[in-house]
């Protein structure tokens, strides 16, 4: 497979998971739109309808050559989870060597650590919601998580491109969204380039 000249990925597969109302669809759109802006073909699968009323919401994002809307379990590169239980539920989507970024208040203590180690799956958690609330609104938790994730080498979507797309597609509170993105990015960079596999401690 050829590598995309812009985002340095042959085919990046991302699962975004959360609960209705947490901004899963918007977070996915931001990543997808950024990939399109970089010239990569994209297909996304979204959850609409009844499940949006508080049910589990999951998006599949395929950057690269595939036109299949759904990602098969065991083949995703990245999992972005806005809620710990949804993170756990969605872990089987990750391939060997995949990475999960999880919003969890007190660190994410996995009950399946031995399996994750065996599969070389890395879980990085952070209190994205507290950070978002401190910045002004729990509504930008998704941006903190995205900022955190794009600092990781596996997710290399250039922050400058994300920022620009975010400015384009955000209807209100653009500044707050950008601030949340920066906060996540800063934290991600501080943690280092994926060397830490234990829950991120913050503050």
């Amino acid at each position: 497979m050829t590598r995309c000249a812009h985002c340095a990925h042959s085919n990046l597969k991302v699962i975004v998971a959360g609960v209705g109302g947490q901004g899963v669809v918007f977070a996915t759109r931001l990543l997808a739109q950024t990939a399109v802006a970089l010239g990569c073909p994209v297909i996304v699968s979204e959850t609409h309808g009844m499940s949006q009323r508080g049910g589990s919401v999951i998006s599949h994002l395929n950057i690269g050559s595939s036109e299949a809307p759904l990602i098969q379990r065991g083949t995703a590169d990245v999992l972005l989870a806005l809620e710990p239980n949804e993170a756990m539920r969605s872990l089987p989507f990750l391939r060997r060597g995949g990475v999960a970024f999880v919003n969890a208040e007190n660190g994410w203590r996995s009950a399946v650590t031995s399996h994750l180690e065996r599969l070389d799956i890395q879980v990085l958690s952070l209190p994205a919601e507290s950070i978002a609330i401190e910045l002004g609104s729990a509504g930008v938790t998704n941006m903190v998580l995205i900022g955190f994730a794009i600092a990781h080498p596996l997710v290399l979507l250039p922050p400058s491109s994300i920022r620009k797309v975010l400015e384009d597609i955000t209807r209100r509170d653009v500044a707050l969204n950008l601030q949340a993105l920066e906060a996540g990015l800063h934290l991600g960079k501080t943690i280092g380039s994926g060397a830490v596999s234990h829950p991120v401690q913050w503050r």
Binding site: P41, E46, R89
Partner: protein, 629 residues
């Protein structure tokens, strides 16, 4: 040219607008609802002259669009798959009369099902109605097929179906959009040419139309056999196994083959009906085994004359229910390939990890009515007033979630709450053992198909309480306007607001009360009065209109009078409020000791104050509890 991310439904909408569609009608229903919204968006953006409306139901929508086609304009009608059941009467007849301007019927199927009562296959409806079908596999292909569907429809003067599925409707893909946008082609002048033997055909002429329809389908099949929409990929990869695939399953199969590490020829079918038999038999002749992958039922497979070497849904190789997920397709392909002697990769998902996670027994998140939803208040009052013995026929909408409060006993189809209530009454009347019957239906659903059953119930003397839950919008599908509202689909002012109260009165219902479900005591007394009317010697059917805007659609209505609440220290975690009221903002502590308010979810509606019969949920007058958002 720029590339934009479009939802599959928006891609269809763009295809309609850019190919000169002039009239588009729809009734909202997941997964189809974004088609009409997209049409309006691209109409403005491409500066096209076009008429679009949210119709009262799918049958009406179909007939309005058909009249446009009969007048020579391109037209389309969109709906969810069960909506096609409602529109099936004109569909079957229009196949005979035929059309003039290109006419596309777009029913969105829902394999799974994710948001529907059934997994029915609209392609099979088309097969029975004798209407050709285009089956797109991606948003890009759906957009491209619109042009071909219009052309075919016009050449053969026949309605054409474009059938997407949920995973296409709700996929987003980057699609090219021209800059500058192409100018609007000249719009033909609408002209209905009278031809009674055609548009008003009597049975004698209908026979001739049927003969002509059969001939059209024969010609269309020959055309499909040569169409580029049906093509073979990896033609020479194998002579043992061949795959026939259509719709999203085509791309799912290709991806699964990559994971399996196998190369297999695929005949991709874009036109499943009439099936291009010649092209299909040519393909099948090359293989010892043929696997058919299609959703949600077996439209292609059923049309195969010889199924000796064919595996699919009919022989059980492919599950007969449920979605063709990547995992299902991988498993089916692995089985067929291994049987044919191919080496294949194992499934990529780790079984031990999945088993370990399943053992955790994670709580399942059920969809729930929103915090502050007036439906919850109405159902809570109904349940308290009538108790568990009453029969609660329900209907289709957000308020189907009243099942969580055990205040909805049935969910059959649009409008069925009223006819079922009628039927339950007559049945129990016949045998004795009368129970209170309290039916609930939403405003949009009532207008869609509640009026005829209401007239029927009044006329036959049925006695039950009907609660019309009027939240002034079509909430579940994304807040589309209803005929009772002040605006039309494009945001312009409606010619008339249809009054639900007047409609009910006009059906000769003698007891009609409008009440606010937020006023618990007042609402309950109206319910009680309504029930007494159904029991009185000179009484009859009673209708209560529960009027209160949807909190998502109209959050301002809440902000005017916020009522923050707190839960007193006496709360003993008895769970009554959780089970009988079930607001998502009421949360049981992990140790079960008491209930707390989740201030992130609470909208300060104050409705839960009535949900604690011990009085531990109280208005927060000093502002330490939930805050108004």
């Amino acid at each position: 040219v720029s590339r934009e991310l479009l939802l599959g439904n928006e891609a269809i909408a763009l295809g309609l607008v850019e190919h000169g569609c002039r009239v588009v009608t729809a009734y909202p229903g997941t997964p189809s609802s974004e088609i009409l919204a997209g049409v309006l968006r691209f109409m403005r953006r491409l500066d096209r002259r076009l008429y679009a409306e949210w119709s009262i139901n799918e049958k009406v929508a179909f007939e309005i669009a058909l009249a446009a086609s009969w007048s020579g304009l391109r037209a389309a009608v969109a709906m969810k798959q069960v909506g096609l059941n409602v529109a099936s009467d004109p569909l079957f007849s229009a196949a005979y009369t035929g059309v003039k301007g290109g006419f596309i019927v777009i029913p969105a199927d829902d394999p799974g099902p994710h948001s529907s009562q059934t997994e029915q296959d609209s392609r099979l409806m088309a097969l029975v109605a004798q209407v050709p079908v285009f089956d797109p596999a991606s948003p890009a292909e759906a957009r491209a097929m619109v042009e071909q569907a219009f052309a075919l429809s016009e050449r053969f003067e026949i309605p054409v179906m474009l059938r997407p599925t949920t995973r296409l409707c709700h996929a987003r893909q980057d699609l090219p959009i021209d800059h500058p946008l192409p100018p609007d082609p000249p719009i033909p002048v609408a002209r209905f040419h009278k031809d009674p033997s055609r548009w008003a055909a009597t049975p004698r002429f209908r026979y001739r139309q049927h003969v002509a329809l059969n001939a059209k389908l024969g010609q269309i099949e020959a055309e499909f056999a040569a169409s580029a929409l049906n093509y073979v990929t990896d033609a020479h990869a194998s002579d043992r196994v061949g795959i026939i695939a259509s719709g999203v399953a085509y791309y799912t199969a290709r991806q699964a083959l990559l994971e399996l590490g196998a190369q297999v020829p695929i005949l991709k079918i874009g036109t499943p009906f009439p099936l291009p038999q010649a092209a299909v038999s040519d393909f099948m002749a090359q293989f010892q085994t043929v696997l058919v992958l299609e959703e949600p039922a077996a439209c292609i497979e059923l049309q195969l004359a010889n199924r000796d070497r064919v595996h699919g849904r009919l022989d059980g190789t492919v599950p007969a229910a449920g979605e063709l997920s990547p995992e299902v397709v991988f498993g089916v392909l692995a089985g067929v390939l291994i049987a044919a002697g191919y080496p294949v990769n194992p499934p990529p998902a780790d079984a031990a990890l999945q088993a370990a996670i399943e053992e955790l027994d994670l709580p399942v998140r059920k969809p729930n009515l929103c915090a502050g939803c007036a439906h919850r208040s109405a159902f809570f009052a109904i349940k308290r007033e009538f108790g568990p013995r009453a029969i609660f026929p329900g209907d289709i909408g957000c308020y189907t979630l009243g099942i969580n409060l055990r205040a909805v006993d049935t969910c059959l189809d649009m409008g069925a709450s009223i006819s079922l209530a009628n039927g339950f009454f007559q049945t129990h009347q016949l045998t004795g053992g009368a129970q209170p019957i309290v039916a609930a239906i939403g405003d949009s659903t009532f207008l869609h198909s509640g009026i005829a059953p209401l007239i029927n119930a009044v006329h036959t003397g049925a006695r039950f309480v009907l609660v019309i839950l009027d939240n002034r919008t079509t909430a579940m599908t994304g807040f589309q306007p209803t005929p009772a509202g002040p605006v039309l689909a494009d945001g312009s002012r409606a010619a008339e607001r249809v009054s639900i109260t007047n409609l009910v009165r006009a059906c000769n219902v003698n007891f009609v009360r409008v009440a606010d479900p937020y006023d618990y005591a007042g609402f309950r007394s109206v319910l009680s009065e309504a029930y007494h009317h159904t029991q009185a010697a000179d009484g009859g059917l009673a209708v209560v209109i529960a009027e209160r805007s949807c909190v998502l659609d109209d959050p301002a209505s809440l902000r005017e009078h916020p009522m923050p609440v707190l839960i007193t220290p006496e709360c003993d975690g008895c769970r009554f409020c959780l089970e009988s009221f079930g607001c998502p903002a009421l949360v049981l502590r992990p140790d079960g000791s008491r209930v707390d308010i989740d201030n992130g979810l609470c909208v300060a509606c104050g409705q839960c104050v009535d949900a604690c019969h011990k009085g531990y949920i109280v208005p927060d007058t000093v502002g330490t509890g939930s805050a108004a958002r």
